[in-house]
């Protein structure tokens, strides 16, 4: 009996160790499937909350579903929506506007973000507070950013108009969002203001990870700031840049928020983009089927872009 007891007490530490969740997880991490197990929690969440609705949405694009026309039913209509899209002038206009919108916004935002990050990374005295202030616009929600710029650019109360008139650039106040020739440009300005801190913050965080030794070695070898940027900084930031550009493009293509608040696609259809058009088809016309088809086309175009971009920047090979 006493022997047994002592055997038990000798065993108990190892039993305790076996039941300890941290130790159990530690042993689990030595399994050859550990890299897959790490993905399980996020994968479950994504499958349940993203994949199912999306598959549902895909099949919606092949169905008739108009909430305000229940008499039409919800039967399958094949490629009807896609065929209609081919002859839909607004669709082609939205596609063109989306390309303009995304290209200009990303190029301007990346350029401003890189300049800001490089300038902030020099850590000159007094620039720390500017770093905080420059990053601020990104924190602002679209709802506030939109209304703020609507106030700034207002045709009657807009301070931007007032300044431009005082400086002599404008004769009279201009209705930026009411003129089809300036509406998209003005919206891109707002988007650039709103989005460039995203690049600045990511690139700055990336820059902090670049070892100083590389720059010291480069300047000993006689490389100037421009060559250091080209030969050290940009290559070292490659994966951060790739991630930032892809995420921004996806965000810009998919989210109609800012344009919805600023212009609602107008005047006419001059600021209509694909995401906004799909949104309006769903929420104004209650035409869920056609909205689904528009979203599917948007999604396929994005997939092609991301595939090509990942190929080009070779982020998978590091």
């Amino acid at each position: 009996m006493a022997e047994r007891m002592s055997a038990l007490s000798e065993q108990s530490p190892s039993i305790w160790r076996r039941l300890d969740p941290a130790a159990a997880l530690g042993r689990l991490s030595e399994s050859r499937y550990w890299m897959y197990l790490l993905l399980v929690p996020s994968a479950i969440l994504i499958l349940a909350v993203v994949l199912y609705p999306t598959v549902y949405g895909f099949q919606l694009s092949f169905r008739q579903m108009r909430l305000n026309r229940p008499d039409l039913g919800t039967g399958f209509v094949g490629f009807k929506h896609y065929i209609y899209m081919w002859s839909d002038k607004v669709f082609w206009l939205s596609l063109r506007n989306t390309a303009v919108w995304v290209t200009f916004a990303v190029v301007i935002e990346f350029a401003l973000g890189l300049v800001a990050a490089l300038a902030l990374n020099r850590n000159l005295p007094g620039t720390k507070i500017m770093g905080v202030l420059i990053l601020l616009p990104f924190f602002l929600p679209n709802v506030v950013a939109g209304h703020m710029w609507a106030l700034l650019l207002d045709p009657r109360l807009g301070v931007v108009n007032d300044i431009l008139v005082r400086l002599g650039f404008l004769e009279t106040y201009k209705a930026w969002f009411a003129d089809p020739s300036t509406a998209l440009g003005a919206a891109i300005l707002v988007e650039a203001w709103h989005g460039f801190p995203f690049f600045a913050l990511l690139l700055l965080a990336g820059l902090k990870g670049v070892p100083d030794d590389l720059y010291k070695a480069a300047s000993v070898d006689g490389a100037g700031p421009i060559r250091q940027l080209r030969l050290i900084t940009l290559p070292m930031l490659r994966s951060v840049i790739a991630a930032a550009v892809i995420l921004r493009v996806i965000g810009l293509v998919n989210s109609p928020d800012l344009l919805l608040i600023l212009t609602g696609g107008g005047p006419g259809q001059s600021t209509q983009v694909l995401s906004l058009y799909a949104f309006q088809k769903a929420y104004k016309d209650f035409n869920f089927g056609y909205a689904g088809a528009l979203s599917v086309v948007m999604f396929v175009l994005l997939m092609v872009f991301a595939w090509a971009y990942v190929r080009v920047s070779k982020v998978n090979q590091d």
Binding site: E30, A278, W307
Partner: protein, 281 residues
């Protein structure tokens, strides 16, 4: 030689200041203007000649937005949704990012692309079916349901960004810990996570801001005051009551205060970022 390099440095310093001052003005002028507008009487906003510096100041707009609407509830709802989203992302996303960063295995490339593809799903395509699904499981018009939706579409952003930071953390220290008898999990928790700490904080802040600001999903998935977040509430007020510019501006200013506090904390953590320290030292 020395004088030219000193002169060059002076030139670069001047250029740096010029760039930063210009960008700062561009960034904060709309904010300053909104702040000024929020402090003006409505009569001073709608004037013939622009008032740059308000002649008189009032806090009426702040009192109006805070007491005459459900704004406090809206802000609290947003806070709960945001916090829940960040916790869910940290738990699930960190593991996935670590897997992608540290292991090379069959299917890794495809899986990474898969996570990216999720991010590309158009919100408009997901929103209607998600509405039906959430209604089916009783998560419609609930803060947790909204946080779940946010987590799932913010996870890819979180994972991809964090992978970049994990990649930047030197692998040598981890190998040394493994040789000293650490399990893989031990090496990850004790070596890699502390090394990537500023990355973890930066990515968490991104997710928090995205959740705090989100508009479309909240508009669709919340239907009552009980779970409605503040961007939706504010936008609805603009539509319903023809919200005056001053009150709208006050609401906007209130909404960015928590964000500014959050960011102030991140600034400090980034300065003392342990990754940079470890790499340099």
């Amino acid at each position: 030689m020395i004088t030219t390099s000193r002169r060059a440095r002076l030139g670069w310093n001047i250029a740096t200041y010029a760039v930063l001052i210009t960008l700062t003005i561009f960034c904060i002028f709309p904010l300053v203007w909104t702040l000024l507008t929020s402090l003006k009487y409505e009569a001073d906003i709608v004037t013939q000649t622009m008032q740059y510096i308000p002649k008189r100041i009032t806090f009426d707009n702040y009192v109006a937005i805070w007491t005459q609407s459900g704004f406090p509830t809206l802000v609290f709802n947003s806070f709960v949704v945001t916090a829940t989203t960040v916790v869910l992302c940290l738990i699930t996303g960190t593991l996935a990012a670590y897997s992608f960063s540290r292991f090379h295995y069959p299917g890794r490339g495809v899986l990474m692309l898969g996570y990216l593809v999720i991010r590309m799903f158009p919100a408009v395509l997901m929103i209607i079916p998600l509405f039906i699904l959430m209604r089916g499981v009783g998560l419609l018009d609930s803060r947790f349901g909204l946080a779940l939706a946010y987590t799932s579409f913010l996870l890819p952003l979180f994972v991809w960004m964090l992978k970049g930071f994990f990649d930047a953390a030197p692998k040598e220290l981890e190998s040394a810990a493994r040789i000293d008898g650490c399990t893989r999990l031990g090496a990850m928790v004790r070596i890699v996570l502390p090394l990537a700490r500023n990355g973890l904080v930066a990515t968490s802040v991104f997710v928090a801001i995205a959740a705090w600001n989100e508009f479309l999903f909240a508009l669709m998935l919340t239907t009552s005051q009980g779970s409605r977040t503040w961007p939706v509430g504010l936008q609805l007020m603009v539509g319903e009551f023809q919200l005056p510019w001053g009150v709208l501006a006050a609401g906007g200013i209130i909404s960015i205060i928590p964000v500014m506090i959050l960011f102030a904390i991140v600034q400090r953590t980034m300065v003392h970022g342990i990754t940079a320290g470890a790499v340099k030292g």
